[in-house]
């Protein structure tokens, strides 16, 4: 296995490079890098104007590879995402024109503005890294990383992501407003030019793929695996929960914990890594009962109770 410090340096370089454009959101960039290394996808959710799209573009540019963007609109059709076959009169055959989903980094901007049918066209690509159109299956280039953004406050003309789609995102991340000092830094940095234009790649798709393979070798002890399974089971058994964390969620948690351990210079997972990632990885997978949501209970509250109730494994 390659030395851990070299991998950690590459991950740090990715975050640092994106941070040249995005001010004060290192934690978010770190989480996005974790998702990238864990072969997952990210949903950035917050109110307008906080830099969701900018952050996605900065990270995409930093990791190199092909980058495509889809602006999700209400009239977008599944074929606009996946691609479509066109009849070629010269050859007498149908020719497949791949859609924007065939790329390394896909920015799905304002994903909740399109209809559920179009949202669902991303399911296979996100879950299985392949695409099936007209009965033909196309393997997507790797790494394949979807960064979706959505605005949670608008009601009219939006279509909330269904649970199946949400579960395919490894993480859902809130950005939050910058502090006063960070806001001043933003004003300074963007006063004369857009720093995104001069941002260069610090990694390549091959290197990212290699890091993803190395991430899989980070040791997850039996105790850590049990801890993840216990959290998932406790979330399903919670009285306020309709649907708890899925096995896909538990698997994603383990991969994300491996990636975080690697980024922190370790070749083994600690329970702290799991606790640290619980909110972005598990919160959106917990579907509460309607009456609990009516009472104002949030998945965050329930996840907090679950984490408090599951004993953290300790070293013998």
């Amino acid at each position: 296995m390659e030395k851990i410090p070299a991998m950690t340096n590459d991950c740090a370089a990715l975050v640092e490079n994106a941070a040249l454009v995005v001010v004060g959101k290192k934690r978010v960039l770190e989480l996005m890098s974790v998702a990238l290394l864990a072969e997952g996808h990210v949903l950035l959710e917050d109110v307008p104007g906080l830099g969701k799209t900018l952050m996605a573009k900065a990270l995409a540019r930093s990791m190199g590879g092909s980058f495509r963007r889809i602006q999700f609109t209400p009239d977008l059709l599944p074929a606009d995402v996946t691609g479509f076959s066109v009849y070629d009169q010269k050859t007498g055959e149908f020719v497949f024109h791949p859609g924007p989903v065939v790329c390394n980094v896909l920015l799905a901007d304002e994903i909740n503005r399109t209809i559920p049918r179009t949202q669902a066209s991303l399911l296979e690509s996100m879950g299985e890294f392949q695409l099936t159109v007209d009965g033909r299956t196309l393997v997507l280039p790797r790494p394949f990383f979807v960064i979706a953004t959505q605005n949670p406050i608008e009601m009219d003309g939006t279509f909330p992501l269904p649970e199946a789609q949400l579960d395919r995102f490894l993480m859902r991340i809130d950005l939050g407003y910058p502090s006063r000092g960070e806001e001043i830094s933003i004003l300074e940095r963007f006063q004369e030019s857009d720093p995104l234009e001069s941002l260069c790649a610090v990694l390549s798709p091959d290197r990212v793929r290699e890091l993803q393979r190395l991430r899989a070798r980070v040791v997850v002890s039996a105790a850590a695996r049990s801890y993840i399974a216990d959290i998932a089971a406790a979330s399903r058994a919670h009285a306020r929960v309709r649907f708890g964390v899925s096995p896909r969620g538990a698997l994603g948690m383990m991969r994300a914990a491996q990636a975080l351990a690697m980024m922190r210079g370790r070749d083994f997972v600690l329970p702290d890594d799991i606790k640290d990632l619980a909110r972005p990885v598990l919160e959106h997978r917990i579907i509460l009962r309607h009456e609990e949501r009516t009472r104002g209970v949030s998945a965050r509250d329930v996840l907090g109770e679950v984490l408090d109730g599951v004993p953290v494994p300790v070293a013998d």
Binding site: P74, D75, L77, D80, I115, T118, G157, E292, G296
Partner: protein, 404 residues
């Protein structure tokens, strides 16, 4: 809420040995006994005085460095559900403490049977050195409303109970009891007939549903071309889409004209029932994915106004139920003016009022126009009128019934 109990915060000491006339008399007896060298008299007087001062000192020390927390374990409940009032105490000193806790049962709640049924929740406990204690006192939500638990009275004293010091506490946390949820009756006509078959047109066309085709004019993107239809007809055809429909309703609760009730706020049983009916209808609409809002002119407790903009989902239903829970009185005015500003975005209205009358007709005409209005009447003098002034109408009894 966290409170640190300081020694000066407690009021008065209550016991035979600690009241000042007893101490004064014992002191005088001791003084004269010593002057007269009557040691047989001096000994009990000194003992009584010593016990009094020791008990006082213990009570004073016992009440110092105590930390107290009072917090409900949930703050949004339906009638019939239980709430636990979690009381945490921490004795941050070496001296053990004997405490008595008294908490009045808040309005809109009843104590659970295990609590004694005396209108107070009692709890006695002992805290050793540096000990923490957590007690949960059970309450059962009884009626709609908003309540703040407290004030709690906590008494700290010595081992024998000769002296104690007491202090009252409140809490900033409030518990909201939503209106009771009723059971929706089977309606004689489809639900949509009552609550808006004319759904609001969304801001976009829905590309999932084709309404038909027409000759392609070249003004829209080529992806709208229907290739199979074009091949069949020999000319380019473009798809025509259905508009996206969103059911969006506004509940209007007119608090004017209701009969006075017997409770202190004057809210009648019929008005309570109307709020339960409205909450039940809103819950049923939420299940269908519809958007809904609320306008009311009722008096509200700790709420800036009775207007809830349109929204959907269980969280939005919670906001609507909370407004209903905060209603403290009827007889408001100015409904038409509020509606003028809020009503334009809605496709339909559910107008809930006491009885059909001139005022109700005026409000309905105000909000109707091209919109659909459905009236629900709940006052004592409401009549069975399927159609009233051209609007579909019914009594609230026809919509909902008590849950089993």
């Amino acid at each position: 809420m966290r409170e640190d109990i300081g020694p000066g915060a407690f009021a008065g000491a209550v016991s035979f040995f600690s009241v000042w006339p007893v101490k004064l008399i014992a002191g005088l007896v001791l003084f004269f006994a010593l002057v007269q060298t009557e040691f047989a008299l001096a000994l009990p007087a000194a003992g009584a005085l010593g016990i009094g001062f020791a008990a006082d000192l213990w009570a004073r020390l016992a009440s110092s460095r105590l930390s107290f927390t009072l917090c409900p374990d949930r703050d949004r409940v339906f009638p019939g559900e239980n709430v636990g009032l979690v009381i945490e105490l921490y004795n941050k000193k070496l001296l053990p403490v004997w405490l008595t806790l008294e908490l009045p049962v808040p309005p809109h709640f009843a104590e659970e049977e295990a609590s004694g049924g005396q209108g107070f929740l009692h709890s006695g406990l002992r805290l050793l050195s540096w000990e923490k204690s957590r007690r949960v006192l059970g309450l059962r939500a009884r009626t709609r409303g908003v309540a703040r638990p407290g004030p709690a009275r906590i008494s700290a004293g010595d081992l024998l109970g000769l002296s104690s010091r007491t202090r009252s506490f409140g809490t900033a946390r409030e518990i909201v009891v939503f209106p009771r949820r009723l059971r929706l009756k089977a309606l004689s006509v489809p639900f949509q007939e009552y609550f808006g078959s004319h759904a609001a047109r969304g801001p976009v066309e829905d590309p999932a549903w084709y309404a038909g085709t027409r000759d392609y004019t070249g003004t829209r993107p080529a992806k709208n071309i229907h290739w199979k239809a074009s091949a069949r007809l020999g000319t380019l055809q473009e798809k025509l889409y259905e508009p996206t429909l969103q059911r969006k309703l506004l509940f209007v609760l007119d608090a004017d004209g209701w009969e006075a009730g017997e409770d202190p706020a004057g809210v009648s049983g019929n008005f309570e029932r109307m709020m339960e009916t409205l909450g039940t209808l809103a819950a049923a609409l939420m299940e269908t994915g519809a958007s809904f809002g609320l306008v009311t002119n009722a008096r509200l407790e700790d709420s800036p106004g009775g207007v809830l903009p349109a929204g959907r989902g269980p969280e939005h239903l919670g906001s609507l139920l909370e407004i209903l829970a905060r209603v403290t009185g009827t007889g408001g005015a100015g409904l038409e003016a509020t509606l003028r500003g809020a009503a334009s975005e809605y496709a339909g209205f559910v107008y809930c009022a006491s009885s059909p009358g001139r005022r109700a007709a005026r409000v309905c005409r105000e909000i109707s126009g091209r919109k659909k209005v459905f009236c629900v009447f709940g006052g004592a003098d409401s009549r069975d009128t399927p159609v009233w002034e051209g609007f579909p109408a019914c009594r609230m009894e026809d919509l909902c019934e008590d849950p089993e």
